[in-house]
Symmetry: C2
Subunit: 359 residues, 2 copies
C-alpha cells in the first residue's frame, strides 16, 4: 500500500522547488509568500505555508544575505581575558549585546585581533567580504585610531567610549563615569565621612581620567576639606597595586575614613591592605568599588554598577539605526545626550558610617 512520502531527511534539505512542487505553484509564488506575501491570494498563501511547514523548508539565510548584502551579523572583537581583572566587564557586554541582538534577529560574530590596526583590517575585510553589517568597537580611547579608520573605509560601527576629538562624526554609547564616582562620594558623605581618599586608574586613559575628575569635583561640591585632594593615588588595575596605594593612604598621619576606588580589583587590594593593617572594612574603613563584579557581591563590597542590559540595548538600537534593513547608509549619529548612560551605586556592608573613634 502506497504511503505518503516522508519529509526529506536533512541530507537533502528541501528546496524552494520542492515546496513549489508540493503546493502545485511556481517558484516565484513560493518566493512571494516568503518575501512579499501581500502579492499572493490568501488560499494560495495558506497552501504554500502548509507545504513549507510539512517539508520543513527554510529559506537559505546565506542566499538571502548574498541578495541583500547583509548577513544580519554584528562583528565584535573578543580580547583575551585580562588575567588580573576581577570583573569580566568585556564578557558582560558581550552577553548583553547578544541578548539585545536576539530581538533584532542579529547574531554576534566574534573575531580575535592582536591590536587596533589588526582589528581595523579585520573589520574592513569582514564587512566587504563576509557581509558583516556593522561592528561594535569596545573601549574606545581618547586617541583611538579605530573610529577614523572605519569612517574612512565606510564600515558602519558604534563605539563604546569616545575619542577626545571627532566623536560627533560617529555614533557612540558611553557610561557616565564622572557621575558614578560622584554618587559614591555623595553616599559616603551621607554616611558621615569627611576624609575620603581615592585609589584610581591611570588618569591618562579615558575611564581613569573621567573617574578621577568625578572624584575631585565631588569633593569640591560637597565642600569637604580641601586636603582631601591630596588623598589620591592612581596606578595599574591590579590587586597588588590597590594594596600598595591603600598602604600609602593608611600610613599617613591623617588617614582617610573612606576610600573610593575606580575598580573592584583595586577595591579588593584596599580591603586586603586594610586587613593586614588591622583596620576592619565596614567598621574602621569604608570602601566602595566600581563595576559591581561578582566578587563585589561575594565580599560584601559596595560598588558602582554599570547598566549592562541598557548598554547592550542602546548599542544594538544605535547599530540598527546605522544600517536600516531597507537602506544601508548610516543614519545621522544620535544626539549624544541619549547615549550617555548612568551607573548606580549598589550599597553593601563595606561602606558603613565611620567608627565612633575616628569621627
Amino acid at each position: 500500500m502506497a504511503e505518503q512520502a516522508p519529509p526529506p531527511t536533512n541530507a537533502t534539505a528541501p528546496t524552494l522547488v520542492d515546496v513549489a512542487r508540493a503546493a502545485g505553484v511556481s517558484r516565484q509564488t513560493v518566493s512571494n509568500v516568503i518575501n512579499a506575501p501581500e502579492r499572493v491570494r490568501p488560499e494560495t498563501r495558506e497552501r504554500v505555508a502548509l507545504s513549507i511547514a510539512r517539508l520543513g523548508y527554510q529559506p537559505n539565510r546565506l542566499a538571502q544575505a548574498l541578495r541583500t548584502n547583509t548577513s544580519r551579523m554584528i562583528g565584535y572583537r573578543i580580547e583575551p581575558p585580562t588575567p588580573h581583572a576581577l570583573d569580566p566587564f568585556h564578557d558582560r557586554l558581550l552577553h548583553s549585546l547578544s541578548e539585545a541582538g536576539r530581538a533584532a534577529d542579529r547574531h554576534l560574530l566574534l573575531f580575535p585581533a592582536d591590536d587596533d590596526a589588526a582589528e581595523i583590517e579585520v573589520c574592513q575585510r569582514l564587512h566587504r567580504g563576509a557581509g558583516v553589517e556593522a561592528f561594535v568597537l569596545y573601549g574606545v580611547e581618547a586617541q583611538d585610531p579605530r573610529p577614523r579608520a572605519l569612517i574612512d573605509s565606510g564600515v558602519p560601527f558604534v563605539a563604546f567610549g569616545r575619542t577626545a576629538q571627532g566623536s560627533e562624526e560617529y555614533a557612540w554609547v558611553d557610561v557616565d563615569n564622572f557621575f558614578g564616582i560622584a554618587a559614591a562620594v555623595d553616599h559616603l558623605v551621607r554616611r558621615g565621612h569627611r576624609r575620603i581618599g581615592y585609589v584610581g586608574l591611570k588618569p591618562e586613559e579615558n575611564v581613569g581620567g573621567q573617574r578621577a575628575r568625578g572624584w575631585h569635583a565631588a569633593i569640591d561640591r560637597q565642600q569637604l576639606p580641601s586636603d582631601c585632594h591630596a588623598l589620591v593615588l592612581c596606578g595599574q588595575d591590579t590587586v597588588p597595586a590597590g594594596m600598595q596605594m591603600a598602604f600609602a593612604l593608611l600610613e599617613r598621619s591623617d588617614p582617610p575614613t573612606a576610600i573610593v576606588t575606580a575598580s573592584d580589583t583595586l577595591a579588593v587590594g584596599v580591603m586586603r591592605a586594610a586587613q593586614q593593617w588591622g583596620v576592619e572594612v565596614g567598621r574602621d574603613l569604608a570602601v566602595v568599588g566600581f563595576d559591581d563584579s561578582p566578587t563585589a557581591a561575594a565580599l560584601d563590597l559596595s560598588s558602582i554598577r554599570q547598566p549592562m542590559a541598557e548598554i547592550g540595548q542602546q548599542i544594538m538600537a544605535t547599530l540598527l539605526n546605522l544600517t536600516p534593513a531597507a537602506g544601508g547608509r548610516p543614519a545621522t549619529p544620535q544626539d549624544s545626550t541619549d547615549t550617555l548612560l548612568m551607573p548606580t551605586l549598589v550599597i553593601r556592608s563595606s561602606s558603613a558610617s565611620p567608627a565612633p573613634r575616628t569621627t
Copy 2:
C-alpha cells in the same frame, strides 16, 4: 593630462570582473588564481595577484559560503552570566575557542537560547539555513537531550562534557574533575593535613558528582581516617551556601584542618565563614578552590586550574575533524582518552600546613 584611475572606493567594491579587466585575463582565470592557482601560469598568476592587490579586491565570503555550503562559522550558545558565579568559566571557554578558531580561519557565531529545546532548534536552523558548520555544546549533562537530538538531525557538534549513556556516538571533550580534586587532597596530605573536609556541588550533576567521587576516592587512597567521609557537604554554587556549609564543618567537635571545595565561589564562602568564626585561612585552616578564577588569585586562594587553552584547541581540532573542508560527513569520534584533559593545582597561601596547635 590623463592619470591612472584611482582604485574604486568602497561604495563600489571591486569585483572579479574588475580584476579580470585590469589584468587583461578572463574571469575564469581570476577565479583559478584564487581557487586553483596551480592551473595558472606563474606570469599570469603574478599579474592577476598584482591587480587583486592594487584594486583591493576581496573574494566574497558569502558567495564562497553559498558555493561550498559552509560559512566557516562555529555556533555557540551564549548564556546569561550567572549572577553568583565568581568564575567566568563559560566566558573563558569562549575566549579560548575564539583564539583556537583563529588558526583555522573559523569565527564563532553567538546565539542566545532559553533552554535546551530552544538551543537544539536554533542549531538545526542555523546549520540548515545559515551554513553554520558545527556547534559546541557547553556543559553537557548526564541526561542531556542535546547530543541525541543533533545526531538525529545530522547537525555536527562537539560536546564539552558527556551524557551518562551514548557518549561513544559523538565527539566530546571533558576535564578530569576526579583527578583535579584528588590532586588537591594529595597536596593537603603532603602539607601534613589528616582531617580534610569537602564542600561540594550538587552530586546529581556531572561536574558535582565527578568532583565528589574524586574526593572520596582520594581520602581512601591516602588512607586518611575514615570519618573524613562524614566531613562532606554539597549544595548550591553560591557564597552564602559555601559559608553555611563551612560553618557546619567548623562547629563540629572535630573540625577539619583543611577544606577542599568544588568551586572558587564555594571557597570564598568558606574563607568568609572562617573569618567570622575567628580561624585564619592559611594558618588555622587550609582552603583549596576549583577553577583558578581571577578572584582566587586576588584572595591568594590555592585553586585547581582547568587547561582553558588546551580545551579550546582540543574542541576546535575535533570540530575540524568532524567537518573536513572537502567533505562534510562527520569523521569517527576520536578515542575518548584523547579528550579527557587534566587540570593542575595552583598553590597559593591559603593551603598552608596545619597550625601546630591543631596537629
